[in-house]
Symmetry: C2
Subunit: 151 residues, 2 copies
């Protein structure tokens, strides 16, 4: 797919990423670096926790979602640059889960102050192999306008 | 500090984490795994990008923030479990930055349906060594009530 500028986006556009499987070892390695809580690092301790079993750090799910978007999400010209947004994790990501991301454009808006750029609001659902949503991210992305539009 | 239950939290409480320095090598390694875009992986390419120099992935900043909270943030009984929230990155995190997290309790609310638990809304500013906010996270945390309250 060609690189996408602001003019190429429209409300309702859909994108579906490829898939990525996640192992217990990856969950524990990420958690050891960034979120060393027993329910992310130790199967036995996780059993008696809120999660009732090993669960990935939400930030690990977020990071994998980003990787899926970079590899096979909307190819935004100049890269995928998020200003911020809303994130939630309705269910935990588990060892053996195979994740993919389904995204939809919610809003497309030229910048009022910067004629060469604009924003696209992207809603991304990260789903496991059963179709359960493990992460919902609504993010405001910086998107460039086509250079031939004179900017 | 003793483990904190819902009854221990109050609106306006502050917490300040320890610090963590970040190297260009760490920025590039995280990005290679999770956010392989040139402005996160390559100094020369980053110079001509939106970021005008190497910048950490926002998810790397988020992951480091989590690690700082686990090591030296509010010691919540049962762990720090976020249901979701709002995140933004007002400025990039750069190689050599020394980050810390300043947090404040915004709301404390018992669950209506589950008497043994409640929620605390935590606003966390991740700041660099100059006091610039590189990440703002407002997150709704699951917090348990004290067992002696009868639950």
């Amino acid at each position: 797919m060609a690189e996408l500028f602001l003019e190429d986006f429209a409300v309702g556009q859909h994108f579906t990423s490829g898939t990525r499987a996640l192992t217990a070892e990856e969950i524990k390695a990420f958690a050891a670096s960034f979120d060393p809580q027993p329910f992310h690092t130790d199967e036995a301790a996780a059993e008696s926790s809120f999660f009732k079993g090993l669960a990935a750090s939400g930030w690990h799910t977020a990071a994998i979602t980003m990787r899926l978007q970079i590899d096979s999400g909307p190819p935004i010209a100049g890269g995928m640059i998020g200003a911020g947004g809303e994130i939630s994790w309705p269910r935990p990501t588990r060892p053996g889960d195979v994740l993919h991301v389904e995204s939809e454009i919610m809003e497309v808006k030229p910048s009022k102050s910067r004629p060469e750029r604009g924003f696209a609001t992207l809603k991304s659902e990260t789903k496991n192999q059963d179709g359960d949503v493990v992460q919902l991210l609504i993010v405001k992305l910086l998107v460039w306008r086509r250079p031939e539009y004179g900017f």
